[in-house]
């Protein structure tokens, strides 16, 4: 029983690591991506190939997986962000890149194509995940509460005004993209060494969708919100034994409903904090104002 629960928590934490990065990108910088699963896949394959074919140390391979994700993020981001594409065309471009990565993974000899890579070492344990998740959340929190993070938020709020506040729009967005790609890559490496088998068809738009849904539902402009939403998205369907298909139906509907009725998501633009919890308590139990 414990091993089942720890499995669910582990899977949840893997996605938390990727989603925190996406939260910075979409939630704090206001850019929409349809292909973040591609960075996840790159991290997974890079880390797996290094440990499987070249016997690298797990932690080094993991770091390289993250770095690979970040590097590809930089390569993709530089031309597309420099061109100041409209947000919707930027999203379509990310879709295209996701497509290109998938084609690449299915056709490079080293990735063994659509058959996938089996037999990866099982290195990802719950303590490892908790430490990595903690570090990533801590980095993200520090970033947001620094001048670099605030620049991203300004870009999201009003990029015209942000420019007039001395913010370099291109660099701010690129930084955000690279950070989120790094987090996704890191999560991918952990994923590979958890399931011990990866193939291109595992990294589909299902994964990208779930991550985006968690950011939106958790609340754009918050880190704790997406973390909580991810854990709920992974945990509850597991508990209820809901099939993947219906999960996606629910995610889609949830995205629309949130946009219409509660666009600020669960946490709004705030973080989970003691004050917030006390406020809820007062409102729910005492009927007073927060």
């Amino acid at each position: 029983m414990w091993s089942y629960i720890s499995g669910v928590i582990s899977l949840g934490l893997i996605y938390v690591i990727a989603t925190v990065g996406l939260a910075v990108f979409t939630g704090f910088t206001g850019l929409f991506s349809l292909g973040h699963a591609a960075f996840f896949a790159i991290g997974a394959y890079t880390a797996a190939i290094l440990t499987y074919f070249y016997g690298f140390n797990f932690y080094v391979a993991l770091a390289m997986g993250g770095a690979a994700g970040g590097l590809v993020g930089f390569l993709i981001g530089y031309p597309t962000l420099k061109a100041k594409l409209r947000t919707d065309y930027f999203a379509i471009a990310t879709l295209g890149f996701g497509e290109a990565i998938r084609v690449l993974l299915e056709n490079l000899p080293i990735t063994q194509g659509a058959r996938g890579l089996p037999g990866i070492r099982n290195e990802t344990s719950l303590p490892v995940l908790m430490v990595v998740a903690f570090i990533v959340i801590w980095f993200a929190w520090n970033l947001i509460h620094s001048r670099h993070g605030r620049a991203c938020i300004a870009i999201r709020e009003d990029f015209v005004a942000a420019e007039m506040m001395g913010v370099n729009i291109f660099i701010g967005r690129l930084r955000s993209l690279v950070f989120s790609a790094f987090c996704a890559g890191l999560a991918g490496g952990l994923f590979a060494h958890y399931f011990c088998f990866i193939q291109p068809s595992m990294f589909t738009s299902y994964m990208s969708t779930q991550m985006t849904a968690a950011v939106v539902a958790g609340g754009m402009g918050s880190i704790s919100g997406p973390v909580i939403a991810t854990l709920i998205f992974i945990g509850i369907p597991e508990a209820l034994r809901v099939a993947n298909i219906w999960r996606l139906v629910a995610y889609g509907l949830l995205l629309v409903l949130i946009m219409i009725f509660r666009p600020q998501g669960l946490m709004g633009y705030r973080e989970l904090s003691l004050d917030l919890v006390k406020g809820w308590y007062r409102r729910v139990w005492k009927g007073g104002r927060a």
Binding site: P79, T87, L95, G96, E99, V249, Y251, G252
Partner: protein, 290 residues
């Protein structure tokens, strides 16, 4: 071989043109990429398929039902998922999330309810090819091209000659001024979505007949976005030209290079164009609404 490839390219180009026009109609009025358009196309295909197979209706009636059904669904999509956001003057990111959510919801609903089977249309046009001078083209393709162009011409006539059509063209320049001149912009927007939906019904049906019917076939609308960019964002004639050009060049890449690379080529073309020549061939480059 060259002429054959050209003909094949024209056939698919005609369908791309149809999708691109439907997409551009909405885009030119609202400056918004309707990411859910693909799922409307998919539903159009399913409607005509099931009309023929389950209800035994002839192709003409099935097509008509598909047009009406898709128009209604597209209209509902607008009323339920986008209109509330417009009233709130939400930013483009929110529209995109809502559109994505709708697409994911509809696709997976079909997956969950109807199933993941691939459905092949019954033979309407015999598999006979018309052959002349050593090149052949399927009877279906001839019909598809003819019908697509007929539909586009009908739309063009409507936009040029009817009062409502002129109102739509005026709205594509500035919908606010239009409403100040007495045009009911809510009705206008609803009508535009109905028209786009009708076109989606036709393209969905022909796509289904030419290839197969399956829940994620809607992703082909990515080609519509690319075609719209080639032809020039905001231009309907541009969408037609862009669609044909894309269909032809894609088919040439597929025939002379490799079919695997085809989609990567199309997306790369998109990114390149957006960086180098964002106005496309005929377009007014529309600034993103800030």
């Amino acid at each position: 071989m060259f002429v054959q490839t050209l003909l094949t390219g024209l056939a698919i180009g005609g369908i791309y043109a149809l999708m691109a026009v439907g997409y551009s109609l909405v885009f030119s009025i609202l400056n918004f990429s309707n990411f859910a358009y693909g799922s409307i196309i998919m539903l159009g295909a399913y409607i005509s398929y099931f009309s023929m197979v389950k209800l035994g209706l002839p192709i003409g009636v099935a097509l008509a039902l598909s047009i009406l059904g898709a128009a209604l669904l597209c209209y509902l999509n607008e009323r339920l998922a986008y209109a509330p956001l417009r009233k709130r003057r939400a930013s483009s990111l929110f529209f995109m999330i809502s559109a994505m959510g709708t697409a994911i919801f509809l696709e997976n609903l079909v997956y969950a309810i109807v199933g993941a089977h691939f459905y092949a249309f019954p033979e309407v046009f015999t598999k006979r090819n018309i052959t002349f001078h050593g090149v052949s083209i399927g009877v279906l393709d001839v019909f598809a091209i003819a019908f697509s162009f007929a539909a586009i011409y009908a739309l063009h006539y409507f936009l040029q000659k009817s009062r409502t059509g002129i109102a739509i063209r005026a709205a594509s320049y500035d919908i606010q001024v239009c409403s100040l001149n007495g045009v009911n912009d809510k009705h206008l927007i609803g009508l535009v979505f109905c028209l786009a939906g009708g076109l989606a019904g036709i393209s969905g049906t022909f796509l289904g007949m030419k290839y197969i019917v399956y829940p994620t076939m809607g992703w082909i609308t990515n080609k519509a976005y690319i075609a719209a960019v080639i032809g020039g964002l905001g231009s309907l004639p541009g969408a037609v030209v862009g669609g044909i050009l894309l269909g032809v060049t894609e088919t040439f890449v597929s025939a002379y290079v490799s079919s695997v690379v085809r989609d990567v080529f199309s997306f790369s073309l998109l990114v390149l164009l957006l960086m180098v020549m964002p106005t496309g061939l005929f377009g007014r480059f529309l600034e993103e609404k800030v």
